[in-house]
C-alpha cells in the first residue's frame, strides 16, 4: 500500500494525481474464507481489521450489500464520547474513544478525529443529579469528565442561550476529549487497511441465506454466489433482524428510523458538541461549516431510510430555543437511517445459537463512537470463541436474566 502523506500528495500533484492507486481492491469472491463478516459498515470493517491486526487472521471477506459505509456509518451525526453511566458501557466506549485518538495514524488515513469536547446540558434539577452521578461513575471508570457550571458552558459555547426562560442551563456534563470524526473516512480508512492486509471487500453483494449444518454455519448465499466460511460474524445494524432470521434465530431487536439534518454551511461559530436532552436536540458544527443536527427516532418499525417529519420539527423547535441564532440558518438536507434498538437500548456482542456464528448489533442511535472498540471486542469474540472483558456483559442472555445495561437512567440518551 502506498502510504498517504503531504509529500506523496505534492509528488502526485506534479502529474495531475494520475498515480494514486485504489484505496481498496475490488476482488471477485473466493469460494471460501476463514471468516466472513456480513456488513461493510464501520463495525464490520473494524471487526475485520482487528481480526487481522490483533489475531493475524486475514483470510476474511467483508460482504456488503450496497456500498461500504452506506448504512448508519454513512449517515450519523458523528458524536464520539464515552461518558456513559454503566460500567460495561463506559469500558467499551472509552476503549473506543481512546482508539480514535490514534486511528488516523494507525490506519494511515486521516479520519479527522476532532476531540473538541462534548457537553450534555443539564436543564432540570433531575438532570443535574443524573449527570453528577455520571461524573462520579466516570471518575471511577477512568473516563475523564466533569460537571461544569453554566458560566463555563457559556464560555465554551457562546451561541447557547443559557438563561432561556423555560429551561435555563443549570450545568453540563463535559467530556473534553469527546468530539467528532469524519464518518465516511472511518469506513474508508478501515476498508483500505483491511484490503491492504489481503482481506476481500465484496460490495454490491447481498447475503440472502445463511447455510447451516449441525448447529454450525457453513457459509452464506449471496447475490454474487455462495461462499463458505469457518466462522461468521453478523454486523448489519438495522438489518440484524433480517439476517438473524436467515440464520434461524430471533433477536430482541426492532428496526426504527432515526433522522438527522444539516444546515447550510456558515463560518465557524460553535467549537464543541452540545446535547440538550431535556428538549431533545443535539448539534455540532462540521469542519465544512454545516450545523449537524440529530433528530428523533420513530416509534414504529420502519425500514425506509426516511422517518417522519414531525421529529425534525420537534428537534428544531428545541434547538432554536436553545441556540436562538440558528433560526436564520437553513436546513440543507435531511435524511434517515435504520437503527437497531434492543430491549435495554444497549448493544449486543454475543455468541448465537449457532456455534461458529457471532453477532454484533443493537448499537441503535449511538454506535458510531463505538466502532473501534466494538470491532476490537468483536474480533476477540470471533477469534477466541468467547467474549473478552469488553464484551462480556453484552451477551444476549442478559435479557433472559434481567441483567440489563440501561443507560437511560441517568437522564442520558445514546447518540
Amino acid at each position: 500500500m502506498r502510504r498517504y502523506s503531504a509529500f506523496a500528495i505534492a509528488r502526485e500533484a506534479l502529474r495531475y494525481h494520475q498515480g494514486w492507486e485504489r484505496a481498496w481492491r475490488a476482488p471477485e469472491p473466493k469460494s471460501s474464507y476463514d471468516v466472513i463478516i456480513i456488513g461493510g459498515g464501520g463495525h464490520g470493517l473494524a471487526t475485520a481489521y482487528y481480526l487481522g491486526r490483533n489475531f493475524g487472521i486475514t483470510n476474511i471477506a467483508i460482504i456488503e450489500k450496497g456500498w461500504l459505509g452506506g448504512g448508519n456509518t454513512g449517515r450519523n451525526t458523528t458524536i464520539i464520547r464515552s461518558n456513559y453511566l454503566q460500567d460495561p458501557s463506559a469500558a467499551i466506549y472509552e476503549k473506543s474513544r481512546s482508539l480514535y485518538e490514534t486511528l488516523s495514524q494507525d490506519l494511515n488515513y486521516n479520519v479527522m478525529f476532532s476531540p473538541r469536547g462534548v457537553m450534555m446540558l443539564a436543564q432540570t434539577h433531575h438532570e443535574v443529579r443524573g449527570y453528577q452521578r455520571t461524573a462520579h461513575a466516570n471518575a471511577l471508570q477512568g473516563v475523564a469528565t466533569e460537571f461544569i457550571s453554566p458560566q463555563r458552558v457559556k464560555e465554551l459555547c457562546p451561541i447557547l442561550n443559557i438563561d432561556g426562560p423555560r429551561y435555563p442551563v443549570l450545568g453540563a456534563l463535559w467530556q473534553a476529549r469527546g468530539g467528532t470524526a469524519r464518518h465516511d473516512a472511518v469506513a474508508w480508512g478501515y476498508a483500505r487497511a483491511c484490503s491492504d492486509m489481503g482481506m476481500d471487500i465484496l460490495q454490491q453483494c447481498e447475503v440472502t441465506a445463511v447455510r447451516r449444518e449441525n448447529g454450525q454455519v457453513t457459509g452464506v448465499d449471496t447475490t454474487r454466489g455462495s461462499i463458505n466460511c469457518k466462522k461468521l460474524g453478523i454486523v448489519v445494524a438495522g438489518h440484524s433482524g433480517q439476517v438473524a432470521e436467515m440464520a434461524g434465530f430471533r433477536l430482541p431487536v426492532e428496526s426504527l428510523a432515526l433522522q438527522a439534518l444539516v444546515s447550510e454551511p456558515i463560518k465557524p461559530c460553535m467549537d464543541v458538541v452540545v446535547m440538550a436532552n431535556t428538549v431533545h436536540g443535539y448539534m455540532s458544527q462540521s469542519d465544512k461549516g454545516e450545523m449537524v443536527i440529530g433528530g428523533g427516532t420513530d416509534g414504529f418499525n420502519n425500514y425506509t431510510q426516511r422517518g417522519s417529519f414531525h421529529h425534525i420539527e420537534e428537534t428544531l423547535r428545541a434547538l432554536v430555543e436553545t441556540f436562538p441564532m440558528i433560526s436564520r440558518l437553513k436546513m440543507l438536507r435531511q435524511w434517515g437511517g435504520i437503527v437497531d434498538m434492543t430491549g435495554d437500548r444497549s448493544p449486543i456482542i454475543s455468541r448465537t445459537p449457532l456455534g461458529n456464528c457471532f453477532i454484533n448489533c443493537g448499537w441503535g442511535t449511538g454506535g458510531f463512537k463505538a466502532i473501534p472498540g466494538s470491532g476490537w471486542a468483536m474480533a476477540e469474540l470471533i477469534a477466541n470463541g468467547t467474549p473478552g472483558a469488553l464484551a462480556a456483559e453484552f451477551g444476549m442472555d442478559r435479557f433472559r436474566q434481567g441483567r440489563f445495561i440501561d443507560e437511560s437512567v441517568a437522564a442520558g440518551v445514546a447518540h
Binding site: I9, A23, D87, T124, E264, T304, V320, M331, L390, F404
Partner: protein, 1002 residues
C-alpha cells in the same frame, strides 16, 4: 458590460425605484427585480468566492439552482446568511454583502488556495495532516475550519416570526408553469380540491420566454386566461412565492411560503410553513438547464443560456454586450436570437454537434449570427469577468483554432427534469438517452398508504416539455381517477407549439479529448469547487459508487444540492468507469427542495409557546410571591419561596423548620388523580399495584407501588376507596398521564372483558397539603368538617364542606407531620389557598416548595420515584417487600421480579447513610469497594440516591442503595468525590426522623 436595457422587462415596474446596498455600495433597481437581476443591471459580474479555492464567481442562473450568488443579508436581528440572490425579491432598503472572502471580494487572501489547487484535489485531507498527531486538533483543523463555511453566523435572537398552517387537498400541484396550470384547470374544473403552489412570484414558468404558442397565440394569453378561470373556482387555492419543499409518506407535503420577507418589521410572519395532506400530488416543477464542462466555465460572465434569456426578457438586463453562445442543443439558439433581436452582439454560436438540421440554427444564421458546428470552447479567458474564449474542435484535444473577445458566455448542456419531489419518497427514475436526462419512471412511483402511486409528474418535470399541456392533462385525469373522482370530458386540450428543436447531443466534457490540465479547470460543482478531474480521481481511487464519489469529492453537497452539477458529474463518473449512466445511477434526492430556515421549521413554538407550560390553579400566586420554579414534566412547581435576601438553601431550611414546628402549605395540585370504577375495579388494581387494593375499606387510603412488566418500579401513590366500585388513585406529578395511559392500555388491550372505567381527574382538583403541628387548628378554624383524630384518623379520608368549600380531605403524610391533603374543584383552588393563608397567618402558615418536601420525606426515609428509583430498581431493593403481596397469584411485574438477576442477594438495597463528619455526601456519589474489574474500572458497592442537609437534624443525611445494605447496619462505606476527597458514611436505618411515627399519628 452588464446593463439594464432602456426598455422591456416584463416583470419590472420601472415607476418604482428601489435602493439597495451591496458590499457597502448604494445601488438602484426596480420593483419586480430579483436581487440578482438588480446586481446584473448594475454590472456586478463578480458576486462571490467559491468554497474551497476562493475563485471569483458570478451569477450563473436565474432560479433556485444558483450555486454562486449567496449573500449575507440584512443586519442585526434580521441578518441572514446564504441568501440566494436569484430567488430574493428586491425591496427598498435591502442590504447585502458577499461571503467567503477576506478582506474583500475583489482582494481575497483565501484566493491563494486557488494557486495551490493542484495539491488540494478531492479528498486531499484524508491523505494528509496525519502527522504529527497533535497538529490535527491544534493546527490543521483550525486552519481547515477557519476557511470553511460560507456566510457569517447570525448573532442575535431573530426579530422575525414564523408560522405553520395545515392544509388539505385532493390534488396538490407543485409548479405553476403551463403544465401546472393545465393540471389545475382539469382537476379544478372537475370539482376536486386543488392547491397550486408556485415558488416564483410569477405564473407561467418557462413557456413565455421559450416562445411557446398555445392555441395559436402567445403562451402569455393562455396563461392569463387559465389564471382567470382558476381564480374564479372556489375549490382551487393558488399561491405564488410558495416552494414545495418536500414530499413525505402518505401524501404529506411541506411547502414554504414567503410572506413578509420583503417588508421586514411589518408584523407579518416572515415565512409560513404549509403542512399539507394531499390525496394526489402532481409535480409540474419543470426542468433545469445544465452547464457544459469546459475549462474556465466558472469565470463570472459564464451563464446558463436560458437564464441569460430570462434576465433579458423578464428584467431587461443584458449580462454582456458580446455574448458567445455555446451549446449542444437548439434551445440556446433562442437566447442568441433574443440577444440579437435586442440589438446586442452575438459574435458566435459554438455548437458541439457536428450537423445542425433544425430551423433554429437556420434562423440564427439568417439573423447574421455566425454558427460553428462541431466546435467547442477550449478555455474561457479572464479571471474576475469573462474577457474572451478560445475555441477548438469538440472532437479534439483542445488545440486552439481561434480566440474571440466577449464579455459573456451563454452555455447550455441540455435540460434535467426537476425530479426531486418525485424522488423524495422513493419514486424511481428512467434514463432517456435522446434527451440525456433522468425522468420519472411511471411504473415505479412513490407508494402511498394504499400501496399505489401518489405522485405524478407532468410537463417538463416528466421529460415532456414539448408536450407539457397534454401531459399535464393526462396526469390530472389519472390523479382524479385514482381519487375516484370523474374528470370533466368537455374540456378542450390546449394546443401547445414550440419552435421546433432538433435532437441534442450529450456532451459531458468539452472538448472530448481534453487533457488533465484542462479537466482540472472544468467545474462541475461551482460552490464546492469540484472539477471534472476530481471525479476522475475518485473513480481512479475506487470511490466508484456514485455515493462514494459524492462523499469523496463533495459533488452535489453544496447549497444547491447538485441541481446544476449532478448529471454532469455522474456522466463524467460513468465515462471514467466505462459504464452507462443509468448503471451508475443518481444519488438520493432528499428534502428540502430548496433550503428552509430553521425558524420556519420551528414555527410559532418560541418563547412563551415554545412548549406548553402547565400551571396549577395557584400558579399566579406562586409567581407573585417570587417562587423559584422547577420543571416537573411540563408543570412548573415552586421549588422554594425565597424571602428578601435569602438564597435557595436558606429558604428551604426555613420552609422545613416552619412546617415541622408550625404550619406549612404545599400546592400539591399536580399530583395525578385517576378514578377507577366498575365491578372489576378491585381486581384490576390488584393487577396494577404490587399490593392488594381490593380489600381496602371504603373511606380508607392505602399506599401502593406500580411496576412495569420488567418488575421495575414505575410509580407510587395513595389509593383511596370512594365507594364499593370506585377507587381514586393518586400518582406522581410526572406520572399522571403515563399511568392513565398504562391503565387504559391494559383495559383495552388485555383485559377488555373486565368491567372497569377510568377517568383522569388530575386537573379537576386543586390539592393543598396542610402540614405541621398546627394543621388541625387551621382546619378547625375553617370549620364544617370534623378533622379530629377519631373522625378522620391517619390514612382515612372524608368529604364535606370546609369553610364553605366542597372538599375531600385525605389524612396522609409525606413529611412525617400531622398532615391533611385537601382536594377542592380547581375553580375554587386559588380561593381556598388564599383563605388558608389568611386564616393561618397567626399560626405561622407559610408555603413550602418541592425541595422542602423532598428534604422532609428523606428525613422520614420515604422513597421518591426518580430519586430512589431510576428504572432499574425493583421494590424489593427498597426494602418495600411489605408493599408486595405474597398471596396474589399475579401482578404486573411479578414474573419479571422472579428472574435470576432480580433475586440475586448481592443486589444493592436501600439503607440510610450518615456521614461520619456530618457533611453532605455529594449527589450521585458511588461507594467504592476494593480493587478493579478486568476493564480497569474501580469496583463499586453502592451509590447515594438522595442526599440533603437536614435542617431538622442539623447534619447531612442520605439514602442509598448498597450491596446487601440492610445486612450491614453500622458498617462504614467510602464515597469518593469528584474533587479527590472521600466522604465516609455509616450504614443506618433510612428513617432519620420520628421513627415511631408519633408525629403524624396525632
Amino acid at each position: 458590460m452588464s446593463t439594464r436595457l432602456a426598455s422591456g422587462g416584463r416583470f419590472l415596474n420601472r415607476a418604482t425605484v428601489q435602493n439597495f446596498v451591496f458590499n457597502g455600495k448604494r445601488l438602484r433597481g426596480f420593483a419586480g427585480d430579483t436581487l440578482a437581476s438588480a446586481l446584473l443591471a448594475n454590472d456586478q459580474m463578480m458576486v462571490a468566492r467559491s468554497f474551497k479555492y476562493h475563485r471569483p464567481r458570478g451569477i450563473v442562473a436565474a432560479g433556485p439552482e444558483e450555486p454562486n450568488a449567496l449573500f449575507n443579508m440584512g443586519r442585526g436581528a434580521r441578518f441572514e446568511p446564504n441568501q440566494r440572490a436569484t430567488t430574493t425579491a428586491l425591496f427598498e432598503g435591502l442590504e447585502c454583502e458577499s461571503q467567503n472572502h477576506w478582506p474583500s471580494l475583489e482582494f481575497d487572501i483565501g484566493a491563494l488556495n486557488s494557486l495551490a489547487a493542484h495539491v488540494l484535489p478531492a479528498g486531499f485531507y484524508y491523505k494528509t495532516f496525519i502527522h504529527p498527531r497533535a497538529f490535527w486538533k491544534h493546527v490543521f483543523e483550525p486552519i481547515i475550519r477557519h476557511s470553511a463555511g460560507l456566510g457569517k453566523a447570525p448573532q442575535d435572537r431573530d426579530a422575525d416570526r414564523y408560522e405553520h398552517l395545515y392544509a388539505f387537498a385532493d390534488v396538490l400541484i407543485a409548479g405553476g408553469g403551463i403544465a401546472g396550470l393545465q393540471a389545475a384547470c382539469v382537476a379544478g374544473e372537475s370539482g376536486a380540491r386543488v392547491l397550486l403552489l408556485e415558488q416564483t412570484l410569477h405564473w407561467g414558468g418557462r413557456a413565455v420566454n421559450d416562445g411557446a404558442q398555445i392555441d395559436g397565440a402567445p403562451a402569455q394569453d393562455w396563461i392569463a386566461a387559465a389564471l382567470a378561470k382558476l381564480t374564479a373556482l372556489p375549490n382551487v387555492t393558488l399561491r405564488l412565492g410558495t416552494t414545495v419543499s418536500g414530499v413525505y409518506d402518505h401524501g404529506y407535503v411541506l411547502a414554504n411560503e414567503h410572506v413578509g420577507e420583503t417588508t421586514p418589521g411589518d408584523g407579518r410572519p416572515k415565512q409560513r410553513l404549509w403542512r399539507i395532506r394531499a390525496g394526489q400530488i402532481i409535480t409540474a416543477t419543470g426542468a433545469i438547464e445544465r452547464p457544459l464542462s469546459f475549462a474556465g466555465n466558472d469565470v463570472p460572465g459564464v451563464m446558463l443560456a436560458a437564464s441569460l434569456r430570462d434576465y433579458l426578457h423578464d428584467y431587461a438586463v443584458s449580462p454582456g454586450d458580446r455574448t458567445v453562445v455555446v451549446t449542444n442543443n437548439d434551445d440556446a439558439y433562442l437566447t442568441a436570437i433574443a440577444l440579437k433581436e435586442a440589438g446586442l452582439s452575438v459574435p458566435l454560436i459554438v455548437d458541439a454537434r457536428r450537423t445542425l438540421t433544425g430551423p433554429l440554427p437556420q434562423r440564427a444564421r439568417d439573423l447574421g449570427i455566425r454558427v460553428e458546428a462541431g466546435w467547442a470552447i477550449a478555455a474561457v479567458k479572464g479571471t474576475r469577468r469573462v474577457t474572451g474564449v478560445s475555441l477548438c474542435m469538440q472532437a479534439g484535444e483542445g488545440g486552439v483554432i481561434e480566440e474571440i473577445a466577449c464579455d459573456a458566455v451563454a452555455m447550455s448542456g441540455g435540460w434535467s427534469p426537476v425530479v426531486h419531489l418525485w424522488s423524495h419518497c422513493g419514486g424511481k427514475l428512467l434514463w432517456n438517452p435522446e434527451q440525456a436526462h433522468f425522468h420519472p419512471d411511471p411504473a415505479r412511483p412513490p407508494l402511498g398508504a394504499d400501496g399505489k402511486g401518489f405522485v405524478r409528474a407532468a410537463g417538463a418535470a416528466n421529460g415532456q416539455s414539448q408536450n407539457a399541456c397534454a401531459d399535464a392533462d393526462h396526469a390530472a385525469r389519472a390523479a382524479l381517477a385514482h381519487l375516484g373522482q370523474t374528470a370533466r370530458t368537455d374540456l378542450t386540450l390546449p394546443v401547445l407549439e414550440h419552435p421546433t428543436q432538433a435532437a441534442m447531443a450529450p456532451v459531458w466534457v468539452m472538448p472530448q479529448g481534453a487533457n488533465q490540465k484542462l479537466r482540472a479547470k472544468m467545474w462541475l460543482d461551482y460552490q464546492n469547487d469540484v472539477k471534472v478531474s476530481d471525479v476522475q480521481l475518485a473513480a481512479r481511487e475506487g470511490y466508484v459508487s456514485v455515493e462514494h464519489t459524492k462523499r469523496y469529492t463533495t459533488l452535489g453537497m453544496a447549497t444547491d444540492q447538485g441541481k446544476l452539477s449532478n448529471i454532469n458529474g455522474l456522466a463524467v463518473l460513468a465515462d471514467s468507469l466505462n459504464e452507462e449512466i443509468p448503471q451508475v445511477g443518481t444519488t438520493t434526492f432528499r428534502p428540502p427542495y430548496t433550503p428552509i430556515t430553521l425558524g420556519t421549521l420551528a414555527g410559532e413554538a418560541r418563547g412563551e409557546i415554545f412548549q406548553p407550560l402547565r400551571r396549577s390553579p395557584m400558579h399566579e400566586w406562586h409567581s407573585d410571591q417570587g417562587a423559584y420554579f422547577e420543571p416537573v414534566g411540563h408543570w412548573r412547581r415552586p421549588y422554594c419561596y425565597p424571602r428578601g435576601a435569602e438564597n435557595h438553601a436558606d429558604a428551604v431550611k426555613r420552609e422545613v423548620l416552619n412546617t415541622r414546628n408550625a404550619l406549612g402549605l404545599l400546592d400539591a395540585s399536580t399530583l395525578g388523580k385517576i378514578i377507577v370504577k366498575g365491578p372489576d375495579a378491585g381486581r384490576f388494581l390488584d393487577m396494577l399495584y404490587t399490593g392488594v387494593m381490593s380489600t381496602l375499606p371504603v373511606g380508607k387510603c392505602r399506599y401502593g407501588l406500580m411496576c412495569n412488566e420488567n418488575g421495575f418500579l414505575s410509580d407510587d401513590g395513595v389509593v383511596a376507596r370512594l365507594d364499593e366500585q370506585t377507587f381514586l388513585c393518586h400518582t406522581t406529578s410526572g406520572g399522571a398521564d403515563r399511568i392513565h395511559g398504562w391503565m387504559e392500555d391494559w383495559l383495552q388491550c388485555e383485559w377488555w372483558d373486565w368491567q372497569v372505567f377510568t377517568a383522569n381527574l388530575t386537573e379537576q382538583y386543586a390539592q393543598i397539603a396542610v402540614v405541621g403541628p398546627k394543621a388541625r387548628t387551621l382546619l378547625e378554624r375553617l370549620g364544617g368538617v370534623d378533622v379530629s383524630k377519631e373522625a378522620l384518623p391517619f390514612m382515612g379520608w372524608v368529604e364535606g364542606t370546609l369553610g364553605g368549600f366542597p372538599v375531600r380531605i385525605f389524612r396522609i403524610s409525606f413529611s412525617g407531620e400531622l398532615s391533611y391533603e385537601i382536594a377542592v374543584p380547581a375553580g375554587h383552588g386559588r380561593a381556598l389557598w388564599d383563605k388558608l393563608h389568611a386564616e393561618g397567618a397567626d399560626l405561622g402558615a407559610m408555603p413550602y416548595g418541592t425541595e422542602a418536601l423532598h428534604v422532609m420525606r428523606a428525613e422520614k426515609g420515604f422513597i421518591m420515584i426518580g430519586d430512589e428509583t431510576d428504572g432499574t430498581v425493583i421494590p424489593q431493593d427498597l426494602g418495600m417487600s411489605w408493599a408486595i403481596s405474597k398471596k396474589k397469584p399475579d401482578y404486573l411485574g411479578k414474573r419479571g421480579q422472579e428472574r435470576p438477576h432480580m433475586t440475586d442477594p448481592d443486589r444493592w438495597q436501600l439503607v440510610g447513610l450518615e456521614t461520619l463528619d456530618g457533611s453532605v455526601i455529594p449527589d450521585g456519589a458511588y461507594a467504592v469497594a476494593p480493587g478493579s474489574n478486568a476493564n480497569g474500572q474501580r469496583h463499586t458497592e453502592g451509590r447515594v440516591t438522595s442526599t440533603y442537609f437536614s435542617p431538622t437534624l442539623g447534619r447531612g443525611i442520605a439514602m442509598g442503595l448498597i450491596r446487601r445494605g440492610p445486612e450491614r447496619m453500622g458498617q462504614i462505606v467510602d464515597f469518593p468525590t469528584t474533587t479527590g476527597t472521600t466522604v465516609q458514611a455509616r450504614i443506618v436505618d433510612p428513617v432519620f426522623y420520628d421513627k415511631e411515627g408519633a408525629k403524624q399519628n396525632v
